[in-house]
Symmetry: C2
Subunit: 645 residues, 2 copies
């Protein structure tokens, strides 16, 4: 493959620097640049290179960032960096709807640098406000509101003269004077304080005391008030208004899937490069082996590498699906298909956000632990990744609560079908398999050796059975609870833990597995990449499925000791097959060293050199503490303050 070059003549994908990781790279079974090209496409690779280079060459983006700064300094730098990104104008706002892959790449590049920056930037681009629950009477958590926002969109009950209430409507409210940044009369606005992560972003609260809002500042997409005080709406029924809002809810959740995937990619990149260079113990006292040679270390990390690939593909495909939905909304498409698409994407994003954010949360934690004490040093970035990923589990809907949206969608499909009812199908075909519900429930696992499981078609079939089983169990349980006299509210709540919750997650895992399976088995996959991609697909599928082994046995899909054992053996076999490809697979997804910003994750693998350099560059490493004299002068008088015990 001829090297891709930028117009400057620089290669778009430069060779990694020489160093100890060279040995690990030489063992890879495939050419990593070819995978990068297949995975990203040429335009995206060039675009990402341009963004990364601009940041690296601009002193404003020089380190430090994240938790090693004071909150005030961090917010200032983040604000200045955000302004600078506008000056770079990598992708004009007007072009975004027509360049979805570049939007994806821009989110990813800025997020890989720092989520505080990416979120602040996109909040500006979209005039978009993070929806958060009320903090009783006040608005709380609003992004950019803590220190900088001058206007806010506030949802309030709209009353027209005569006292009639038309429900929640959005209003544009000025909260600060843009010249002085002082609050407007009647507005109390402030910063909510330090959070676990993303502290470059100023989240704020606001309280309003009889603030007057001009009529024209009602944001009138779905309803308006005439100068005479009458209410008019072009949306016929509340249901349709609700359905429109589903689309915008999905956008936030799909974005969070992407944020989670980026965090997971960064974490596995750091941990796998570390594991390929860090040596510990060995067959003899003299010889220490890289920790990635241990099956335990492989099993801890490689499934998360596979998950990063599988979820990355899922995110990109869901983002394109969402683009289709948004095009329909803009074009005022009122077709049945458009409504069905909205429901399907709502179901996918409502379980996709939990699955992706939890996988990232657990993956980052595993990476942190797999790097031992080095992972606990702030400079190696795994702490910031964990902290910045954490809100993904909570905002835009708590994960556990959100999963109910997906199980409700699936139960609704089953109910609509009924005996002899309509086919089950959906625009994106994620639920079409449910049409074979009864047949699928009759399936049994037939593999008898680990080799039978080395392709993702086997776990795919098992997942179809699992989703049908959980759907039947959930449906029966819900009916029982209702028949026993419980209210709908109570009955649904009593079905969540062991029924609806695993149903929603298993359905989403199936969807991710199916899409990754199809992507890795399509004819246009270049032959040198087929084996490694199929291994990733099988590993992610089997590893995910192995969380459900108890249900596979309980429902009779598995029987006998052998089934469970071959599943385990297949996972370990895939880990062993992939271990020599791990560093090259990381080269495909890791950003340049400057962006990755982790001494133990640098591409050359000069672990100790990089660590020492970074340690000695920290603040006041060798200096005495400013309070040293306190230590040397005033010795404690032991017991001088002893209380009566």
């Amino acid at each position: 493959m001829a090297p891709l070059r930028e117009s400057s003549g620089d290669p778009v994908l430069p060779d990694p620097p020489q160093g100890p990781l060279h040995v690990a790279r030489a063992r890879a079974s495939f050419p990593w640049k070819e995978l990068a090209l297949f995975w990203e496409g040429e335009d995206t690779l060039r675009f990402k290179k341009a963004i990364f280079s601009a940041l690296e060459n601009d002193p404003l983006f020089a380190h430090p960032r994240g938790s090693r700064l004071s909150v005030e300094k961090y917010q200032e730098l983040n604000f200045l960096r955000c302004k600078r990104v506008f000056e770079y104008d990598f992708l004009p706002v007007g072009d975004m709807l027509d360049s979805l892959p570049r939007v994806l790449a821009l989110i990813e590049c800025l997020g890989m640098y720092d989520w505080s920056l990416a979120v602040k930037f996109f909040l500006h681009v979209l005039e978009f406000i993070i929806h958060s629950p009320d903090f009783e009477a006040a608005k709380f958590w609003v992004g950019n509101m803590g220190k900088t926002a001058t206007h806010a969109v506030v949802f309030a009950q709209l009353y027209t003269p005569g006292g009639q209430c038309h429900g929640l409507h959005p209003f544009l409210v000025q909260i600060r004077d843009p010249k002085t940044l002082l609050p407007m009369p009647g507005v109390m606005v402030g910063d909510i304080g330090k959070k676990l992560g993303q502290n470059g972003l100023d989240n704020g609260f606001a309280m309003f005391h009889k603030v007057r809002i001009p009529r024209q500042d009602l944001l009138n997409r779905s309803g308006d008030v005439t100068p005479e005080g009458a209410y008019v709406t072009h949306v016929k029924d509340v249901g349709q208004r609700f359905s429109e809002s589903l689309g915008s809810l999905s956008s936030g959740r799909v974005a969070i899937v992407g944020m989670s995937v980026v965090n997971l990619k960064l974490a596995v990149s750091i941990a796998l490069r570390f594991s390929a260079t860090r040596r510990q113990f060995g067959p003899t006292d003299k010889e220490e082996v890289p920790v990635l040679q241990y099956p335990m270390q492989q099993w801890r990390l490689l499934p998360y590498l596979a998950a990063a690939y599988a979820l990355d593909h899922f995110f990109k495909s869901l983002f394109l699906d969402l683009g289709e939905l948004q095009q329909g909304l803009l074009g005022k498409d009122r077709s049945v298909r458009q409504a069905e698409l909205g429901r399907e994407i709502h179901a996918l994003s409502s379980a996709g956000k939990p699955l992706a954010s939890w996988t990232a949360q657990r993956g980052i934690q595993e990476c942190r632990e797999a790097c031992g004490g080095h992972g606990y040093l702030a400079m190696n970035r795994l702490g910031d990744l964990r902290d910045d990923n954490d809100p993904n589990c909570t905002y835009e809907g708590d994960n556990s609560v959100l999963l109910q949206q997906t199980s409700r969608y699936l139960l609704g499909l089953l109910a609509r079908r009924g005996p002899g009812g309509a086919r089950i199908e959906s625009p994106l075909k994620t639920v079409d398999f449910l049409d074979g519900y009864a047949d699928i429930l009759g399936r049994r696992f037939e593999g008898s050796s680990p080799e039978d499981l080395l392709d993702s078609s086997v776990p795919l079939a098992a997942y179809e059975w699992l989703v049908c089983y959980l759907l039947r169990e959930s449906h029966q349980k819900l009916s029982r609870e209702k028949r026993s006299g419980k209210s709908d509210f109570e009955a649904i709540n009593d079905c969540q833990v062991y029924h609806c919750r695993p149903l929603a997650l298993a359905f989403l895992e199936l969807t991710v597995v199916r899409r990754f399976h199809e992507h890795t088995h399509q004819p246009r996959v270049p032959p040198p990449l087929r084996a490694v991609l199929r291994r990733l697909s099988a590993l992610y599928a089997l590893w995910s499925l192995s969380q459900h082994t108890a249900l596979l046995y309980r429902g009779g899909y598995f029987s006998g000791e052998r089934a469970g054992k071959v599943l385990e053996s297949a996972i370990l076999a895939l880990c062993a097959q992939l271990k020599d490809d791990a560093v090259a697979l990381v080269d495909v997804i890791a950003p340049p060293d400057f962006i990755l910003d982790s001494p133990i994750g640098r591409a050359d693998g000069e672990l100790y050199k990089n660590l020492w350099t970074a340690v000695l560059q920290e603040n006041k490493v060798l200096e005495r503490a400013s309070w040293w004299a306190e230590f040397a002068v005033n010795k404690p008088v032991i017991g001088s303050l002893k209380p009566k015990l």
Copy 2:
């Protein structure tokens, strides 16, 4: 029960303040003060009260603490607080070995306030150095070394004249001048930089360049050098020297079990008080219910409450076992029993640390998520708890690696027994059940309704089967791997993931379950406490066991759909039975509000009042940022820096 009073007349257990949590407390099935007395004992309650009061009344301990301070300020405050704790002299060092329950209470009280303080204090008390892997040539991670230590114990190869090497020996090395805190000649000593947590503690590194150490600074407990340069040792063989060091390794690991339990107690206290007051959704639009009323929220949190009690009891009992071991070491007990006790405690602490630190890690994360956005605010402390708990998974041996010590111990017992061999028994009787290995493997689960599982004797029996099954599987797998021609090193590594690792964890879970079961079923449990304690015991046991359902089915202990379903139903039934006791159970283990330091976890349950007060007390909440003019004056010129894409 007459109220306990201090000599001042104040009650040792004051009533909780009035507030919204009063309703939840009134529903409890048992008197919480009686449980506090049973759980802690009167002397410990008084002792803890005295420590907590001293800290609360001393302005030096006023907030803030933890991640809301700069590292430099935090280290200074932590150092001053540590000095002050010496002045309080709550428990003279010389009394510690005779007052183990008070040592426990002191660790817990200081740790509940702040682990940075507790660790700094105990590092001083024990002249104890955290052992950490070499950072190639340097010592790295040493607690207190970053800014303050003047002397360090360094392990180095001891060579005597003639070049003979006697292995690793400890030396006392002066690293800083105590008057100036400047480094000694030839010593480079510094701070390793910011960590994810415990930043009040100054961890350091040191490198030595031809530093001379006087002969008398060889710490000569096991070996010495005469003035003429000859090596003498009173320890006969390397094996015994190794066995002595096991005892000191166990101390660190047992302490970490306790640290993890404290973190878990604090986290569940915060999350459960929040959940009993935070209302969301409800059967009608008008009526919102506390989130603890939802079975999902109960299932997310109550098993961790049960785990906090079960592991707390395990920790205390293991600490007393360790005390017995240390007494033997001090008394130079060379009996077989003493050696066996050392091995057993080594096995228990090597899996106890992983089990406790991981349970705390997952529990804190669940609590963080269960509190939604409020859990993500730094002031509510769940972030600091997670960060301060995190090193527990890593130091004193990485959890995953450490588990090998326990599985090796169990496999060794099986091998020693052989066909017709000696009884399997141990000083603490944790492995005596293995003597019935073959019979136990023949057992089958017999419960058929959830009621059959509401006592922890049922999961206890299941755990015995599970450990025997995993022991047999591990033994067979290891033999197979060795027969296939693999080296011992390779064979053992290939048995970890699905064999030795779950074996070690299941054995420890069984031990925790057994000790908690016995503690809650003993005749001296006051009758009003029996029901609630037995429910906690059953919930912890069943919930832990439910992670292994796949193995119970695979190995034939469970069969049919019903077994798995009754296990799930029993867990949910216990959660429902315990939900009204949750707040009172928290009152028993939570420290006073000042120590807990979490607005959403305060004992009165005035959620929003407490939050608003705390938010408005934060730094510069309503002030403009110092850099406000940058925002108002220099608008970005969009695209002015646009790179060529």
